[in-house]
Amino acid sequence: MAEWHGVWIVAEQWQGELKRVSFELLGRARVLAEKLKAPLGAVLLGHKMKEAAQELIYHGADQVYLVDHPILFHFDPDAYANCLEFLIREERPAIVVAAATTTGRTLMPMMAARLGTGLTADCTELDIEEETGLLLQTRPAIGGNVMATIKTPKHRPQLATVRPRSHPPSERDSSRNGEIIEVSLPEELFKTRFKVLGFEKLGTEETRIEDADVVVCAGRGLGRPDSLNLVRELAKLLGGAIGGTRAVVDQGWLPYPCQVGLSGKTVSPKLYIACGVSGAIQHLAGMRGSRFVIAINKDPHAQIFRVADLAIVGDVNEILPRLIKRLRELKEHG
């Protein structure tokens, strides 16, 4: 097993642009590589992405394995899995981490199945066990109510997906050196059973809730759909995105991609403002990783207050208009 060596990240791109999570992965994996005194590699699958490969080096990669093919422009499960499997078998990295996104959480299980090795989903902490050099993977389960540390003692590579925003992106340093390895792979690896027919971007409101620095969440306590405009306005003023509880989405006030919680999305923004959210355990599962939480609710015993840094007891419909007015004044007058 000694020949499996080094740490890899699977960089993620969307339509030719690197996603921020790629730099988060580099930041996290750099720490692991240094502990192991091993090189840090990045795999970049895409089309016409040489400049992006250079960016990965500036952000901490020692080698970038760049595979260029038109079919890789979109995520294609067959072509992506074929390429990554080929590279892993060829180069034998000890650790491969990818983002816990819809892409990473599709590709990596396929890798685990094909390579016959272990995979840990949606990790929020990664570390190296000193005595053994094994990857320690810590992840939440049951809505964050349980944390488990997991390792893959005997199988290689050790695979993990990492929750976006659970680590800051690495700093850019344009004096860093590294090697871009342009890999040309056999054409048969790009054969696919899939046809991508098109793409419909989400409306601005629904998009990027996982990526937003600020999420303002609407709960049933708003009382009426009109009040959503207040939530929207506040999100806009703070440069954030709008989210909703399951109740709000089930009533059709907001579309499903906005849903935060166990049956929706997990978000960990810098600031989460819960407006009229009672804080069912399923909802807390989707937001308790937020850095700061402000909750506004009429009920002083609301469960949401347990996970809040600032708990405001009051009516959102009275507080939000005043808060918006005040923030506008601050914006205008500094």
Binding site: W14, H74, F75, A113, A121, T152, R193, I281, L323, R326
Partner: protein, 266 residues
């Protein structure tokens, strides 16, 4: 169209309470249910059967009590239910679970379509579906929010056209059948079981399969067949050092603004 739906028996999160003193979860005495996100896979299978005919098999792996999850699927209308249950399956991680399920799928199949929920509400890995698909060599489409069109296999090979929900939007994608899909909540609204359905489910036979039935070796399944090991489990506390403000709206606004300033969030 023969469809396999994989379901999991999970603790009912609606029943989970938080220990007031420690801020951690109370797990004892929580009843088990079918994973709520698997109901969407069951419902989609039922809708496809209504349109194209065929048979739906529900499959689960777990302790004997996991029969409850399969009875829920039966009460909604699936035709047959199989439970993979054996002490030697215990402690399986996602890889070993997917492997064991793949052996059952081969034994019970062939199937034109395998449907799974996006993830289970307890483990929340979402890995078993795509691992199962890859082990069976099937094309896998994850996060499906709509089946746009489907051509069932007859003389010609079948195909399926789906919308899948990604971070940036909906990807429309087509693949050949047989295939494995994992579906998200947006895909449908699961039906409630009828009284007759519940009655039939109570009487239905749940077929049990063991290690020997699947021709598995003990080292290929359960904890022994699992590449990963849990080395530590801990219960983080929910609680934060909460500042409570119970004052006029004006005062509340000032508190929020000073909090935002203090944390450099403005």
């Amino acid at each position: 169209m023969n469809i396999l739906v994989a379901v999991k028996y999970v603790p009912d999160t609606d029943e989970i309470r938080i220990d007031e003193a420690t801020g951690t979860m109370i797990r004892e005495g929580i009843p088990g249910i079918i994973n709520p996100l698997d109901l969407y896979a069951v419902e989609e299978a039922l809708r496809l059967r209504e349109r194209y005919g065929g048979k739906i098999v529900a499959l689960s792996m777990g302790p004997p009590a996991a029969e409850a999850a399969l009875r829920e699927a039966l009460s909604m209308g699936v035709d047959q239910a199989f439970l993979l249950t054996d002490r030697r399956f215990a402690g399986a991680d996602t890889w070993a679970t997917a492997y064991t399920l793949s052996r059952a799928a081969k034994k019970l199949g062939p199937f034109d379509l395998i449907l799974c929920g996006e993830r289970a509400t307890d483990g929340e890995t979402g890995q078993v579906g795509p691992e199962l698909g890859a082990m069976l060599g099937l094309p896998v489409i994850t996060y499906v929010s709509q089946i746009e069109e489907l051509c069932p296999p007859s003389a010609k090979p079948g195909w399926i056209r789906c919308r899948r929900l990604t971070e940036e939007g909906y990807q429309r994608v087509e693949t050949s059948l047989p295939a494995l899909l994992t579906v998200v909540k947006e895909i449908n609204e699961p039906r409630l079981p009828t009284f007759q359905g519940k009655l039939a489910a109570r009487r239905a036979r749940i077929h049990r399969l063991s290690l020997e039935d699947l021709d598995l070796k003990p080292q290929e399944t359960g904890l022994e067949g699992s590449p990963t090991r849990v080395v530590k489990v801990f219960y983080p506390s929910l609680a934060r050092a909460t500042k409570m403000v119970n004052a006029s709206p004006e005062k509340a606004v000032e508190e929020i603004v000073s909090f935002l300033r203090e944390k450099a969030l403005l």
